[in-house]
Amino acid sequence: LKAFEGDKVLRILAKNEDQISLLQDLTEMDQLQLDIWKEPTHPTLPVDIHVPFESLQSVKAFLEANEIEHYIMINDLQALIDEERHEMQSTRF
């Protein structure tokens, strides 16, 4: 079973088209292995990105350097998956 320990999902709120463009550049950085839950399209829509633990520092640095507003939507993806699995199993019995 694939594990996501320490992975976070960030909700990113771009202010303008320039920031959207920067976020599009970010999502194309293959080495970060980002999973884009909601793509950067225009400033009225939030961008959600599942960031592997190993890429967190790079992504945070990128966002902060470009003054792009963001917050942690899911602090530990694996913990949430575990919770979901536990709930499925416990109700089954």
Binding site: D35, D48, I74, E84, E87, T91, R92, F93
Partner: protein, 310 residues
């Protein structure tokens, strides 16, 4: 402990593929005069692709609803189960719904991407695509919502098999897609088609592959407005609406662009609840509220379709 009938089924929990298949069998057994289970094809890994057909008489036009084409969007499959039960409960009891089912069949595909769904339960909860290997690549799967013959290969889909929006080698290359294509064509009389996704709280109509407005845009736009107003009347959930390309982004090869181009005027795609907290991991206690409010939106579209058969 397995439920013995669909009244005992736990609609407020997520379920495995086997449990969903067992649910469908129970529903058919309990309602033999109303529900039949059609097998429209097989997935890449040879899982059956089932459609529940709700019909109160012969030779009716059809109204299609599918859930779960993106496997990790678990609330959609769960909502599909709830819709199935809602249909058998409301038929003969709810006047408005009974009138709909007395005029149109409802075709409901609860698990549109069964290989992907099974994979989310056994291997990778975050899997979105199909599970067909891509020759020459170590990356697996195609985005079945970029694989339709509607602007296929254009902007808004990827040609890279490692991307989540990989369109596939050719239009309808995925058996999960081709099976629907074949069924829709052979049916020949489907008047409404709704494909359900999560999460963004949107109701959208074609097109996604071009900015050219569809000829029926004013009607589809007004119907979407009414549908989301009805949806919001239950819990106040706010939806946005419009064409795919203007509401969210350019996406080529999408499901409802193809269905619209096949002449199915009332083609829509839903994006269900976004709480801003859980993404694809919407807690199970929100399944029923999500399904309930979505049903109101569906009712608006189904009623309008019934009243405006073309």
């Amino acid at each position: 402990i397995e439920p013995r009938n669909t009244d005992n089924f736990d609609y407020a929990q997520y379920h495995t593929l086997d449990e969903i298949n067992a649910f469908m069998d129970m529903l058919v057994a309990e309602n033999p005069n109303l529900v039949t289970k059609l097998r429209i094809g097989s997935s890449y890994e040879q899982r059956p692709l089932y459609v529940l057909k709700f019909s109160s008489g012969p030779n009716r036009p059809g109204f299609w609803i599918d859930t779960g084409i993106h496997s990790r969007e678990w609330v959609t499959q769960a909502a599909g189960i709830w819709f199935a039960k809602k249909i058998v409960i409301d038929y003969g009891r709810n006047q408005a719904f009974t009138a709909i089912l007395n005029k149109m069949d409802i075709l409901l595909e609860i698990v549109t991407n069964p290989d992907g769904y099974h994979y989310t339960h056994t291997t990778n909860r975050m899997w979105r695509k199909t599970r067909k290997p891509n020759p020459g690549s170590s990356c697996v799967g195609v985005d079945p919502n970029r694989n339709w013959d509607a602007g296929f290969g254009g902007p808004g889909a990827s040609s890279n098999p490692c991307m989540e929006t990989y369109r596939g080698p050719s239009a309808h290359s995925e058996s999960e897609v081709k099976s629907i294509v074949d069924y829709v064509k052979s049916h020949g009389n489907i008047k409404g088609f709704i494909s359900i996704h999560s999460y963004s709280q949107m109701l959208m109509y074609p097109y996604g592959y071009t900015k050219t407005p569809v000829p029926n845009q004013p009607e589809l736009h007004d119907l979407a407005r009414r549908a989301i107003a009805n949806l919001a009347s239950l819990y106040g959930t706010k939806y946005t609406y419009g064409s795919i390309i203007t509401t969210i982004y350019q996406a080529s090869g999408g499901t409802i662009d193809w269905t619209y181009d096949q002449g199915i005027k009332y083609s829509y795609t839903f994006e269900l609840r976004d709480t801003g907290r859980y993404g694809f991991l919407l807690p199970a206690n929100q399944i029923i509220p999500t399904a309930q409010e979505t049903w109101l939106g569906l009712m608006t579209i189904m009623q309008h379709t019934k009243d405006n058969l073309y």
